[in-house]
């Protein structure tokens, strides 16, 4: 561990908070329909889009109507993406956007990939540079990076409206929320982000792959492509699907320590800002600060554990005789699967940033993390996106937990629980409980099925022996059910002997099970969240009395963290013991 490593972590948290505060206020204005400084720029495209799409933005939608629009829109996106990916080399596709003439992947892998991108998961059984044409990456995957992020955010906004709504049934208008999210929030940051990334060395072109003649007379083929435009929205929308196979570890996708910091900020900025948006829209900014405090405390705890564990090095390194402490000119630590320019701190921090959110981007090989260092992403996923979480998803996930915490607090003091002046009754608690349970249930059932069957175990990598093989399987379904997308990348669902999909085939069990898990664990919680919003929106607000439990003070923060850890630990601890914990505690080699 080094001073500069700790400095990176502390400065990152400070910069993030400083940027998220004003952005949160800005977004509160956007979703309240107030005028913002970008209104003169985006006002007319916004109105033009409503006309083209035949949307009446003033039409108010109840929760069922809002959910219906969301589901039909997502289904349309799913079908179009499937069509695009399956006709990658059709006769009408110009050569320039598929310069290497790649064929389409088989149906099962495509089913997985499409479900993955529509659900904001970006789990990738495929490898970008050996299977995807530039056109597929642009009009297929990049588009869903935008849209799935937008869908997540509007659900959080609808829930806030349900919480603060004073009368009636309306949660707003889905189409208006979606268009505003894309124009006023995602577009400006994504465009600026892409240009900044290119200025630091990320590539952006439509050239065919390069052939270089190296200094010692060998040839090297180098993959190219429109990377920055996809990278920017992949991080901002907490999608995480890499343009290249190794994602943000690739020098073209993350060339310097500065881009590493910048990409991490892009990931966390919207989940962090949305918490402040919530505070603003409830009319009590301290509500947002309390949730932010709970998230930041859990986040920093995870970073500290991961950094210390990775700096210590792995049992395999020590058994081979390597010395892993820092020496002059080398930071030491577990550098297996890590890039020199990021070092241990930059890799550990990136790992935590992308696993607390639903951004499955990686800049180091999670499979090669030490037992305890690897237990950190497991623990982050076990928290079901409550530590910042995905864009929108994170906020609505933690708000369901807030509801649960208020309920438990109410039971402890023996009063009917109230939240922001609204009485919580059996209906809301049942809906929130179901919403919270879907993700862990999907993860555990799918893992059990995958390790208990021969077709499931076929996906475990050759190297994944003993606990490592179990970790691979558990991580795969935990990541897919949390719509995260990062992987213990040895777990495979796609066999490709040659680049370009000729002669390739998928592993149907892993592809289909994973795809179903992603769809179920994405749209299930969304429906329950909207139902909770619908149940809350009609409730009358009663003024807070002396006995009302406050949800904006440190006591509540502690209670909230306790509830999250309790639910996560009770659900996942037995499974985690069998994989990462056993490796971290014993140091045994398998």
């Amino acid at each position: 561990m080094t001073v500069s490593g700790w400095a990176t972590i502390v400065l990152f948290a400070l910069i993030l908070t400083a940027l998220a505060l004003p952005l949160g206020s800005y977004m509160a204005k956007v979703y309240s329909g107030e005028r913002v400084f970008l209104t003169p720029v985006f006002g007319w495209p916004e109105r033009a889009l409503y006309r083209v799409l035949r949307v009446d933005p003033e039409r108010e939608q109840g929760w069922k109507s809002y959910a219906k629009s969301l589901l039909i829109f997502s289904l349309a996106g799913w079908l179009l993406l499937y069509l695009i990916l399956r006709t990658q080399n059709a006769f009408y596709v110009p050569h320039g956007v598929n310069p290497l003439g790649y064929h389409s992947a088989p149906w099962n892998v495509t089913f997985n990939t499409v479900s993955s991108f529509v659900t904001n998961t970006n789990w990738q059984f495929y490898s970008g540079e050996t299977t995807m044409s530039y056109l597929s990456q642009m009009i297929g995957l990049t588009v869903q990076n935008w849209l799935s992020a937008g869908v997540g955010i509007v659900v959080a906004v609808a829930l806030i409206r349900g919480i603060v709504g004073r009368s009636g049934k309306s949660l707003g208008n889905f189409w208006q929320d979606l268009v505003r999210t894309i124009l006023y929030v995602l577009a400006p940051i994504s465009v600026i982000g892409a240009i900044v990334l290119v200025s630091q060395g990320v590539i952006q072109n439509l050239s065919t792959y390069l052939t270089a003649h190296t200094l010692t007379g060998l040839t090297q083929s180098i993959a190219m492509g429109p990377t920055a435009s996809q990278l920017s929205i992949k991080m901002l929308g907490t999608n995480g699907g890499g343009f290249f196979n190794v994602n943000s570890a690739h020098p073209f996708e993350n060339p310097t320590a500065f881009t590493n910091l910048f990409e991490m900020l892009l990931v966390l900025i919207l989940p962090a800002a949305l918490v402040f948006t919530y505070g603003r829209m409830t009319g009590n900014r301290r509500q947002g600060f309390a949730i932010y405090g709970a998230m930041m405390a859990m986040f920093l705890g995870a970073v500290v554990v991961a950094y210390i564990a990775e700096a210590h090095g792995s049992p395999a390194q020590h058994a081979a005789g390597l010395h892993t402490h820092a020496i002059a000119g080398s930071g030491g630590g577990n550098m297996e699967g890590k890039e020199q320019r990021f070092g241990i701190a930059g890799s550990a921090l990136f790992d935590v940033v992308t696993t607390v959110t639903s951004c499955g981007a990686v800049n180091s090989a999670i499979e090669s993390f030490t037992g305890i260092g690897g237990a950190v992403p497991f623990a982050n996923l076990s928290a079901s996106e409550t530590i910042f979480g995905g864009v929108g998803t994170g906020l609505y996930s933690i708000l369901l937990y807030v509801l649960l915490a208020v309920f438990i607090g109410g039971l402890m003091v023996g009063r009917t629980p109230e939240w922001l002046g609204k009485k919580l009754e059996a209906k809301e608690i049942k809906l929130a409980g179901l919403g919270i349970l879907i993700t862990p249930l999907a993860a555990l059932f799918a893992t059990a099925l995958a390790v208990a069957t021969r077709s499931g175990r076929a996906s475990i990598s050759e190297l994944g022996k003993g606990p490592q093989g179990f970790s691979e399987s558990l991580y795969a379904y935990l990541s897919q059910s949390n719509n995260n997308g990062s992987a213990f990348a040895g777990y495979t669902g796609f066999i490709q002997p040659n680049a370009g999909n000729v002669g390739s085939h998928g592993v149907t069990f892993a592809d289909v099970l994973g795809g179903l898990v992603m769809l179920f664990a994405r749209f299930g919680p969304i429906l329950f969240t909207l139902a909770v919003a619908g149940a809350l929106v009609g409730k009358r607000i009663t003024p807070a009395g002396l006995g009302t439990m406050r949800t904006d003070n440190p006591t509540f923060v502690v209670l909230l963290i306790g509830v999250i850890i309790l639910v996560g630990a009770l659900t996942f601890f037995p499974a985690l013991l069998l994989g990462p914990v056993v490796q971290g505690l014993t140091g045994h080699l398998y």
Binding site: T8, S127, W175, A249, Q317, A319, A320, I327, G332, Q468
Partner: protein, 219 residues
């Protein structure tokens, strides 16, 4: 219902055009005008010939020549060995030979796997075989981790300064240069931490080796 279906179809088509064609093409256009070098991969040319990308690692190895004068092959692939006149990159395990930049991949070596220990031990052995003759005091304990562990992308363009300092002994001897000259080049091509505090200092291996070649050509 009908209304939602019509709007959904219109929305997905219009947004695909805007976000999937207009957005990436505008970014491509701006990048090609404002940062053409970066946008095209920071290509490095020597005498008009493309030798690689500045930020993509490559292998500085040469084919092993068998007794019959032809390159030795094993399982259809040419066997290579490090070219001792050059600084060596980190170990790489991409398919189809080390540093295959058309197919980046993780090594996925587990922290508690015997296979990982074996790979590490083999890399330690080759490192000592290559460097120890020129740096007699070198012990296993002094080998920096990056010289033995594979990187995440397996395309890492950098090595640690400690790794470069050890290799400098060999390169100086093979090129008949003073150690101080080679060490000077290592310092020159060592990038400091990002913004002064973030990440680790690293030495760009391709740039360093190119500088060595230029030195030889000038002398």
């Amino acid at each position: 219902m009908r209304r939602d279906v019509v709007t959904s179809i219109l929305a997905i088509v219009v947004l695909t055009v805007l976000l999937g064609l207009v957005y990436p093409l505008v970014i491509t256009g701006v990048s090609q005008v404002a940062f053409p070098g970066n946008a095209n991969g920071q290509k490095v040319y020597v005498n008009g010939k493309l030798v690689g990308s500045k930020i993509i690692g490559q292998a500085f190895v040469k084919p092993v020549i068998a007794k019959n004068g032809k390159p030795e092959e094993k399982e259809g692939e040419v066997v290579t060995e490090p070219d001792p006149r050059y600084f060596q990159s980190r170990p790489s395990a991409t398919e189809g030979g080390a540093y295959n930049a058309a197919a980046s991949t993780f090594s996925n070596r587990g922290p508690n796997d015997k296979a990982t220990e074996k790979a590490d031990a083999e890399n330690i052995k080759s490192y000592l075989e290559l460097e120890k003759p020129y740096d007699p005091g070198l012990t296993t304990a002094q080998i920096p981790v990056d010289a033995v562990n594979t990187s995440a992308s397996n395309l890492d363009p950098e090595i640690s300064p400690a790794n470069a300092r050890i290799q400098a002994h060999r390169v100086a001897a093979k090129r008949q240069l003073a150690l101080g000259v080679v060490d000077g080049l290592v310092s020159k091509y060592t990038a400091s931490r990002g913004l002064g505090f973030s990440g680790e200092p690293g030495v760009n291996v391709l740039e360093l080796n190119l500088a060595l070649d230029r030195l030889g050509a000038g002398a």
